[in-house]
């Protein structure tokens, strides 16, 4: 592991440097015509380097950079790749979308500079959160992701969007402060046994000493950590900011917030759970996660029914799915963990595709109100079909990937907690009914008059659908092996 030279790390460093530099460059020229394309080029470059990084990890196992600063293993590298991929496809959508918003005067020049700069800045903070080995830097990066996106939520400067931005800022700030207290407690426990205090927050070092850490401190820390990072995951009852932030900001932002940021926060929770389990010797951390997850899953499914705004509706669907994933990580066996990891991928891909489609639909009908979007399939079939397919996929119907992962999760639940399956099935049906109640008239209803077709590039959406279809029919061996490696790291055993 240590005989690798600098070039091994160059893919990792480039993955972080490109978006950071890009953020600076776009802060200067983000309002020009080329900004959209430049954003796309930067995202492509990040995707290529993270792909190279993923291949390296696949062949040579996990890497730790000198001074233990970055740590990349099977678990985080697949999220890095997912992040840069969704960042790239969303950038394809973002260019024309934001150009349109600029043309109709919703966003001024300064707003465009801010938007493009923060798009890259946001990607950078997420990639930093994933790759860092230092739990303190993980916190700084997750907080940084909030700071990068908070002004984008209020980008349109409407009263609603400013309210959403303020709520997002205060609630996530307060929440994430709890996570910092949890991190401090972990550090407090760590300095008692790790002599070199500069290494005492390094995840890899802590993991090696996990069973020696004082369990009472760790349990207390975990409660603070799950409340803190759980706020960012959007777990009920800490979810209030999420539908507002996801619905009021520009749609490309909603796509990456819903598709990616929630994953990052959950990633942090799982990393801490990996530290706490060996120290405690019980699955109490898992039980806490199961409780939060199940509650989110049920409540979000019910709240779906009473939404009037299409983006809000799909944000509740995100809460529901994050709840399910949290629940699965809480169960903790190999099968549940495998399912949860797969569900993170398929949910990200599906949800970002849906948000891109919703963005087109909202631009087409000039509204986000569910009651005023009607007959999409007649006005512009590609948007209508995409919305329909996306909803079918996210509701967990075969043959899409969400079905596969949910099937795995349900099998795992039947094995360990059979009586909870009834609740899960009920939640799934409730969410299904809620989604289709709203989507059916939007897609098939009587078309509203005076709506003219818009130019819509549906390639990113089609690409996402193809991948989730592929994952639904047969998970490729390479990916399965890869997720299995991550499963072994998290739960101790693989499923393959």
């Amino acid at each position: 592991m240590h005989n690798l030279n600098f070039s091994t790390y160059s893919a990792l460093y480039l993955t972080l440097i490109i978006p950071l530099v890009g953020s600076g460059v776009l802060a200067l020229c983000g309002h020009r015509r080329i900004a959209g394309s430049l954003n796309l080029i930067l995202c492509s470059a990040t995707f290529i380097t993270s792909f190279i990084l993923a291949v390296e990890i696949f062949y040579s196992g996990s890497i730790i950079t000198p001074l233990n600063f970055f740590y990349v293993d099977a678990f985080n590298v697949y999220l890095v790749l997912l992040n840069s991929f969704v960042g790239l496809t969303t950038a394809v959508f973002s260019g024309p979308y934001m150009a349109h918003e600029q043309k109709i005067g919703r966003v001024k020049n300064a707003g465009m500079r801010l938007y493009h700069s923060m798009y890259q800045g946001f990607l950078f903070t997420m990639l930093l959160a994933l790759t860092t080995n230092n739990l303190g830097i993980l916190w700084v990066a997750v907080e940084g992701a909030t700071l990068a996106t908070v002004l984008l939520v209020s980008l349109y400067r409407t009263p609603e969007s400013i309210e959403a931005g303020w709520k997002y800022f205060i609630l996530c700030g307060v929440g994430i402060a709890q996570a910092m207290f949890g991190t401090t407690l972990i550090y407090f426990a760590a300095v008692q046994i790790i002599p070199d205090s500069s290494q005492a927050l390094m995840w890899s070092v802590l993991y090696a000493h996990a069973s020696e850490l004082e369990p009472t401190v760790l349990l207390l820390a975990f409660v603070f950590l799950i409340v803190g990072y759980g706020t960012k995951v959007g777990l009920v009852p800490l979810h209030n900011w999420l539908p507002d932030a996801h619905s009021e900001g520009p749609t490309p932002m909603s796509a990456i917030l819903s598709g990616l940021l929630l994953n990052i926060a959950l990633y942090a929770v799982v990393r801490f759970k990996m530290l706490i389990d060996p120290a405690l010797g019980t699955n109490i951390a898992g039980h806490i996660m199961m409780g939060f997850g199940l509650l989110s899953f049920m409540v979000a499914g019910l709240l779906l029914h009473r939404q009037l705004d299409i983006k809000r509706m799909f944000s509740y669907s995100s809460i529901e799915h994050m709840g399910l994933i949290t629940f699965a990580f809480g169960i903790g066996g190999p099968l549940a963990t495998f399912g949860a990891l797969l569900h993170m991928i398929v949910h990200s891909l599906t949800k970002s595709a849906i948000f891109v489609t919703v963005g087109h639909a909202a631009q087409l009908c000039k509204t986000q109100s569910i009651n005023q979007i009607r007959g999409l399939i007649k006005i512009q079939p590609e948007i209508g079909w995409s919305l329909l397919i996306g909803t079918v996929a996210i509701a967990g119907l075969p043959p899409f990937g969400v079905f596969t992962s949910e099937f795995l999760l349900f099998s795992a639940t039947i094995k360990s907690y059979p009586w909870l399956v009834i609740t899960l099935l009920a939640g799934l049906c409730i969410a299904f009914a809620g989604l289709f109640k709203h989507v059916q008239p939007m897609v098939f209803g009587v078309r509203s008059h005076g709506v003219i077709k818009i130019k819509a590039n549906m390639w990113p959406v089609a690409l996402h659908f193809c991948i989730i279809l592929w994952l639904g029919i047969a998970v490729p061996e390479v990916l399965a092996g890869w997720i299995d490696q991550a499963t072994i790291m998290i739960s101790g055993k693989g499923v393959l």
Binding site: N134, E143, L147, S154, E163, T184, V191, S197, T216
Partner: protein
């Protein structure tokens, strides 16, 4: 309980901890905006002194940078920024309290008791002094949250937010003698950016809503 003999440094730190908790109560009781900001600066000053005491007693010289950051950000930059914003935005100087002030103070006292109760399981690990400081920092964090909940002005919510940050830093400094340098720098950067963003938000809220009362931010509802 055994009688524990504290060293001079420990006594100093405990006194400072008590004073920081006291300033949190002062923040909760204060209804004038400018005085509130001044008390917040005082709390930052106490945090800075605590950091210095620990830096010198335990020979942790990287804490000097941390102390300088606290001094710059919490004692000067943020209070001055807030004071200027209050002047420029011409905000009413009196702050309304939501709910009964007596109840809020009683609630605050209950939160302090709760903090001591929550850290009770941490035993054997360290001396009584550390357990005290962890409990007090948790109390400062919770009182900051209470401050955010109990006031209507956006400015006070920011003070509450920063007060929570003070509690966090106090925990990091007093219980663990400072986080690694890179983390401290990162946290300071986040606080700086957050303070600037808060300023921007004040202008946005003021332009759209005509005042800084967060009560007017009530358009987005959970359902319907």
């Amino acid at each position: 309980m055994d009688i524990v003999v504290f060293t001079l440094a420990e006594q100093l730190i405990l006194t400072l901890a008590a004073l920081m908790l006291f300033t949190s109560f002062l923040l909760l009781a204060q209804t004038r905006l400018l005085t509130l900001i001044h008390i917040f600066a005082l709390q930052g000053g106490l945090l800075c002194v605590t950091t210095l005491v620990i830096a010198f007693t335990y020979g942790r010289h990287h804490l000097l940078i941390s102390a300088a950051l606290t001094l710059g950000l919490k004692v000067f930059f943020i209070p001055i920024l807030l004071q200027r914003l209050v002047a420029r935005l011409d905000i009413k100087r009196e702050v309304e309290v939501v709910g009964n002030p007596t109840l809020i103070m009683l609630g605050a006292a209950a939160l302090v008791l709760f903090s001591y109760y929550a850290v009770l399981p941490i035993r054997e690990l360290s001396m009584l002094a550390t357990r005290n400081t962890i409990a007090i920092s948790l109390a400062i964090i919770l009182l900051g949250m209470l401050l955010i909940i109990s006031r209507r002005k956006a400015v006070v919510q920011v003070v509450g937010f920063m007060c929570m940050e003070n509690g966090l830093l106090f925990a990091a400094v007093a219980a663990t003698q400072g986080m690694p340098m890179v983390v401290e720098m990162g946290v300071a950067l986040d606080v700086l950016v957050a303070a600037i963003l808060f300023g921007i938000f004040f202008f946005q809220i003021r332009t759209e809503f005509g005042s800084l009362d967060v009560d007017k931010l009530n358009r987005l509802k959970e359902v319907d």
